[in-house]
Amino acid sequence: MESRTVSLAIRVGTGLVLAFLYIPLLIVVIYSFNNSVSQTWPITSFTTRYYSFAWHDPDVRTALATSLTVALFATLLAFFLGSLAAFAVHRFQFFGRNTVSFVLVLPIALPGILTGIALNTTFNNSVRPIPFGVLTIILGHTTFCIVVVYNNVLARLRRTGSSQVEASMDLGADGWQTFRYITWPAIRTAVIAGMLLAFALSFDEIVVTNFTSGTELTIPKFIYNNLRQPRNRPVVNVVAVVVLLVMTIPVYIAQRLAGAEAGTAAGRRATLRGDTEPGL
């Protein structure tokens, strides 16, 4: 249907938009080699010394450790809870079934600040105030990570259908065997993709973290705090670049895993953060 001009225009447009998406990231990479504390353009002299600064900065190390711990536990909890919910919704018809998807998606669909304030108020006002720290960050992160695993697993379950499960049961396999040999292989990649995305989501989160972390430092919090320290900005640039590189790995793998067999658009979209259609 496209004429040659239209097709050309669309190609050019695509190129421009992709440039729009990537140039800012490139700028950050360039600035991480900036020698001067002042952040003006053009950059006059270059250095790699801030990479060694960042490497030796104890705050960066603590923040990294906390971020990894939180992301790991939040992911495991999300895996557990999200998969259970997905199975429940897939296998059963029950009152409030549609509400489940809606409720699970709320923490992402509503502004993060609401989740943050809500959790903060609750932790502060619970019968015995819960001390802010790694535990409270994990609680907060798990809440919005569940939906990522849930979406991925549910999409895969819907696609695989139930005939194989029925066949397995007919052939005399018990529930565990059916799960072990039929269901699990079918959903494995979806689960892993969901977990990788949950991990990345947790590693990146700042708003809920700000409200639930107390004095605990995570990588995004380190960045947020140090944007305020005029002389520490070069270190922020460096940390930003490292995070950029580290984050792309799990996301890339997740995309490949989910995308490899996910022929349909629905499957692919379901793996995305922000795919927040509450089962509309």
Partner: protein, 298 residues
Amino acid sequence: MVSDEADRPAGTRTRVSAFLFRHPRLRLGGLLGAPGLWFLVVYLGALVVMYATAFWHLDAFTGLVVKQFSLANFKSIVDVPVYRTVILRTAGIAAAVALTDIVLGFPVAYYAARLAPARRRTAVLIAIVLPLWANYLVRIFAWKLILSPGGLLEWLFAKAGMHVTIGSSLVAVWIVFCYLWLPYVILPIYAALERVPGSLLEASSDLGARGWRTFRKVVFPLIVPGIVAGSIFAFSLTLGDYIVVQLVGKSAFIGNVIYDSVGIANDIPFAAAFALVPLAIMSIYLFVAWRLGAFEAL
């Protein structure tokens, strides 16, 4: 299906498995119990606690919460003109962002869905999604570097012989929001375009419609739901954000009013009351979208 498990030498596992099979309610409870409890206790409970505080107010001097029922917060949201300004400003920019992103996103979505060969399509899709995972703060910070006086943009304009500074302004906020949410808008449009059957386009062409007409009469009506879905993301994400305005903006948005009420003034009751505003706006938005029939094809 399975009715003869009693005949077999049943191990514990088999018995448990069979028992569960005969009691679907129990299975359902086992599956949904943990996540359900988590959400009820950690999340929904917290939301209820927060919204309940909307009916309390702060003591003027100590800044402590006075736990007495009052509608004072809602009254000041309605009465104080500045909140109306903030709400209109936020909704206006949110709408502008949604529109801009649709315009920017369309060619990419179209390319990925209809023009790109299979391998390149995957590459383009990954290229769209990857920036979402570059740290959100870093992406805002990148724009701060570009837009601030003495930054890249001013330098580029100077090279072109113009003196333009964006600095901290609504324009900067608009650009950064467009940047941040663009991938969220592209993907639903892409998905909608991908679902347009090629046969319809051929039929349209066979019947003599030229490119533009086919687009307007066949393609566009089919992808409206995708466009609306994308705009919902851009719109709702803008309504809730406060960090962008903190870093590159000048005038408060809804998110800032909420954040300042909590993070600075510790006025959680007012924040909770004000937090109903984005909720209400989104409800209206979704309702209108639903009336337009935008959800049906999703």
